[in-house]
Symmetry: D3
Subunit: 131 residues, 6 copies
């Protein structure tokens, strides 16, 4: 049985993360299913669902937070895909990561940029090299 909050969270997860998010939830089923439930209910059903910022803005903030944290390559993969899903361009994503340099330093930014590179390659996307 699911709650209304779970259902709206799942719908939002599908809209934002798509299959990447669903795979994470699936992979949690036999180890920590409630962690998956909380990702859906809290991160998506409580937070992403909110008004006040649109999904493009939310993805810029998420990518900045994950870039800054470091060691979040799997989550960056999901959320760079999500950023594309909600309409950010590859160029905007790369620019958002680059913008973190003065705050989080080059290593964090390099690591996140290489995740973006992989995601774009998997989706057959290119980025104009002249920025």
């Amino acid at each position: 049985m699911t709650t209304e909050r779970y259902d709206r969270g799942w719908e939002k997860l599908m809209e934002v993360d798509g299959t990447g998010g669903a795979k994470v939830i699936e992979s949690l089923k036999d180890i920590s299913p409630d962690l998956g439930k909380f990702v859906i209910e809290f991160a998506f059903g409580d937070i992403y669902i909110r008004e006040g910022l649109d999904l493009k803005q939310r993805q810029l903030i998420t990518i900045s937070s994950l870039t800054t944290l470091g060691g979040c390559e799997p989550q960056l993969t999901v959320h760079i895909n999500a950023a594309l899903n909600v309409g950010l361009s590859p160029k905007e994503i790369v620019e958002a990561i680059l913008h973190c340099t003065p705050y989080a330093g080059f290593p964090r930014v390099l690591n996140a940029t290489f995740v973006a590179k992989e995601v774009f390659q998997e989706r057959g996307l290119t980025i104009a090299t002249q920025q």
Copy 2:
């Protein structure tokens, strides 16, 4: 003597951070003036000056990065002021900080929110309590 890069950085710093940024540079003069120069030349003259994201988007990213880093209360004070300067509303700023919760956790988000509260109070701003 300043360079073109310094001059455009200073202009951008003034536009974004205003007097808050200028005070930081001033306070570095007798201890690490080149650090101030690099804030101007690199953070503003190289990064903030770029196209691809507008200043509102850049401030959302900066606030997310500083919230996530933690221990950056003085920089958050400057950049929450900057966010207001470039046209973000108090509500959008608070929402951007709140959006970091699933990634950076409650303590980082609480600390950043209380910085926002102080900044808004100093500027006589209120935020609608019904969100």
Copy 3:
């Protein structure tokens, strides 16, 4: 109007954090009331409420996480009080912080220890110096 989840979260918050937690929620009312709501609903109504670990174990884990994060002195104040509230002794709390040294390093452990010192002093508690 509150939900069942909010109500059980509030009850758990009162049991664990007591007035320290309530003050945090109160201080959020005019800046980010929903952040306070999520502390109650998610941190307490979803997580603290769970079975599988008792409240003493949960406080040891919380204190370790906050010590390791760093820059969470206000949250450590609340949760060291909470640790006492749920029955951990001052000595166990100090020992839990000390145990983080090999993983989080001395600076994080020193900062957390001095928060404990303040909390114990405010509550008139002493810790046997012979260890």
Copy 4:
């Protein structure tokens, strides 16, 4: 020649980490043998040996600290095995990691949970999916 402190540390390392810990020490022999010595003497001979908290409590604290730090997957592998060695159940370990979510955020907790999943699989352990 070893000291009393080294010997008691080694004995405690064997009790807690078992072969996983011994492999780490072994792998340090030709690069930084004294680092291995300090793991034994300080982390185990000085800290783990102490009274005031039992080994189950210490492993909960260690897992929380490593989860929160991030980027410590190899150390989490050793210490989740250690947690099992000292008598924590798979369910308690998963719950301890989950409890870090409000403080350290979902990405850190997801990464640690997937380490637990691998460790349990290697040891042929299952966790009841209904929590």
Copy 5:
């Protein structure tokens, strides 16, 4: 009763940190005296005592680590004093902090620089403003 390791650690602590270090140990006496003992025995009696790097090199490394960690202002105060004690010039200390910018970002470097400013002011030291 103290051990040989404690004694050599104390001597090294006195040589490096001087009264600043002694005050930290003193302030731990009634809350976590063994934490103070481990600072002396491990950080100084085991690590600082070692050959292979001289004390100036060790202080550069310590300052870089504390700057990068963030939230370690009290420890930076002690170790910037220590850096002066072992013969690093104010200019070298400021330069070492500045060198961390590409890795740790501006906020961490700004915070550490302002600690250095306070330490130098307390000791009546100036730094040539032309770098």
Copy 6:
């Protein structure tokens, strides 16, 4: 067209990082070429180029910062190679990493030490095991 700052940065990058650094810049060409440009211009053209600390001292600081940050294994690979390039011995590098233990904790130090082990093996270097 390149600037004087780019050219002096590139020259310094070649001197310090050598082919390892050049590969990073190359790998950024089709995803975030300006990030590569800023590594060259800012990290090397602005920072590494400076007087006040020699290249050996700068590499000790860089290694300490990367070790402490965590999750920077690719950057540590480049900069441990760089440390060897500018004349630090394997033993000094291992000692510098070890010195971070009291501040950054064992896990960060272990991870960095194993990067050093790989770099030394690739270059056919050994480290005297008697320390």
